[in-house]
Symmetry: C2
């Protein structure tokens, strides 16, 4: 026990003793609040190097009430089928921003029914200074959102506007991108477009659908609504197979709620002997990593996941006294690739 004690990590007091200054002076030096005179400073620096001292995170967090940590609470992609690839890119941006700001990142994947509960727990336990949440439907849990906001930490809601004061949000211009997709197709002569989306409407797909519907209406083209079970390739293929078997007039273009679905559409169309884009054009959303290297590569509305991740985490400095920043809305640009083209001549 006592022997073990010796191998224990050095404390700030050890550094102070060795440098012959008070602990507070070392603390000042570390935090940079007051400049330290060159004499003591050099002794402190030497002592830190010799002892290989690192401040204890728990003690620091306890006293200063800051965990130097940002928590990311994401609904489990596996239980959802959606967002896996989005989350991955998002995570890349988030970690980069966290490190740049000297924070650590805590990641939690939860079942949809536990997301807010977990977020509240993390906040109440003081494990994080800020949270970013991806939720299916925040409005359905307004009470819990309020409870979370009441804790006083910066909260960022992903992919949907926040309806609770004190909660900011990060969204992309899904509607604008959707309109661009429709315009692109209409410009290529498509007059009958299908929209394919999972049964469960997430905030993102919902806004995409709204944008598509509005743009289609404005352009005066037919919009067919297709639905698939979830957001997987398999389910998209089944939906397409079912719709084509239905026998109605087939659309010359399909807009899918995300690239995963778009890919299923392409595959099933090809399987049934239809060419993409020669017979049917397909447009997706997100611009996932694979979207550029599948064949045909996917025309898609790019959602800048990594940038959003950076903003979600990097934008939390307002904890240090600033106001809640305005909701940042990221552009959603249409990326035209191989899966879309002119409508076939009737």
């Amino acid at each position: 026990m006592a022997a073990n004690r010796q191998s224990s990590r050095p404390t700030l007091r050890d550094v102070a003793d060795r440098a012959e200054v008070s602990p507070q002076t070392v603390s000042n030096y570390l935090s940079g609040r007051h400049a330290t005179r060159s004499g003591p400073r050099e002794r402190i620096e030497l002592a830190i190097r010799e002892l290989d001292y690192r401040p204890n995170a728990a003690a620091r967090a306890l006293r200063s009430r800051r965990a130097d940590t940002v928590a990311l609470v994401l609904e489990d992609p596996n239980a959802l089928g959606l967002h896996e690839y989005f989350h991955m890119e998002f995570l890349n941006g988030a970690t980069a921003a966290a490190h740049a700001a000297g924070n650590n990142l805590m990641v939690t994947l939860t079942r949809p029914d536990e997301t807010l509960e977990r977020a509240i727990l993390i906040a109440r336990e003081g494990r994080a200074d800020g949270l970013a949440l991806s939720l299916g439907d925040a409005s359905a849990a307004a009470a819990e959102m309020c409870e979370l906001a009441a804790i006083g930490l910066p909260i960022v809601l992903l992919q949907q506007a926040a309806s609770v004061p004190g909660v900011s949000s990060i969204t992309a211009q899904d509607e604008v991108g959707a309109a661009a997709a429709v315009a692109h197709l209409v410009g290529h002569g498509h007059r009958r477009i299908a929209w394919l989306c999972g049964r469960e409407l997430w905030p993102g797909p919902e806004r995409r659908f709204a944008g598509v519907r509005e743009a289609a209406q404005a352009a005066g083209v037919d919009l067919v609504e297709w639905v698939c079970e979830d957001y997987t390739v398999r389910s998209a293929r089944e939906a397409v197979a079912g719709e084509l078997a239905g026998g109605g007039p087939a659309p010359t273009a399909v807009i899918a709620a995300n690239d995963m679905i778009a890919l299923g559409v392409v595959q099933q169309l090809q399987e049934q002997g239809l060419g993409v884009p020669d017979d049917v054009s397909v447009v997706g959303f997100n611009d996932f990593d694979f979207s550029s290297w599948v064949r045909p590569s996917l025309t898609t509305v790019r959602i800048p996941a990594a940038a959003m991740g950076r903003r979600a985490v990097g934008g939390q400095q307002h904890l240090d006294g600033g106001a809640v920043p305005e909701a940042p809305v990221f552009p959603a640009e249409l990326v035209v690739r191989e899966s879309s083209g002119p409508a076939p001549a009737a």
Copy 2:
């Protein structure tokens, strides 16, 4: 100040006062170390519910020297091109296991040259009770590995055997899977097989290569070594294009270091008019999510990433006094799909 105090989170002392017991009794109740008599227990439970009390994580960590957190330090996939999809599945398993054990998960993506430095920092600051690392080459940084191990936390090395005492590891039977892949191809009449792998040899690909080489030699078939720049689809395509242009006798099968590369191989072969699997069979590694839904779907050696993630985090309970567990080795099974088949008749 004093006013703010009121809106502050309730402490264990508040609970104790309200329940008319001492703080220690509440602590005992919470930790479950001693059973609490029914009288005080009910009062404590009531007080906790009324105050909506949550223990402060920092204070608990400071005194008990346990952060209730496991850290995952992964080399940044973006800087590497490798492992992105592996990490995602791995993360799913890891979070699930962490929650099941009542731990939180801290995730860090780092540049390859900073990985160990970061891991050491996290450990020294006491932010985690255990670490799981994915490293390019652990043996190259033996000194730092020792420093990390000396801190006394459980360390798990991913995808490669640990060479430092006190460090456990989690690996898959890459060699066995590789042998199975070769056997599969040889059984289908292939006598000339190419191995394609990124220039930088990671522990995983390295062992895969070793397995392939050995099995090919044992079976007496030709093995051609191809190299691509990194582990991306694009780079794999370039490599295949270059090799085919070379003009030598083309192999009838290609084994790729992972599914990402395998996909590039398939695409380039098709682009050059070669059928998969009719003219050339392709086998990959990992069984990423997309491997089952691309077309042709990929024959691949499945690496159980999620299970490994569960084990990496869930296997750290030995912190509580147990010995370092034996290195778990996960099976790597061949999954036969559409991208491989009989060798074409010469």
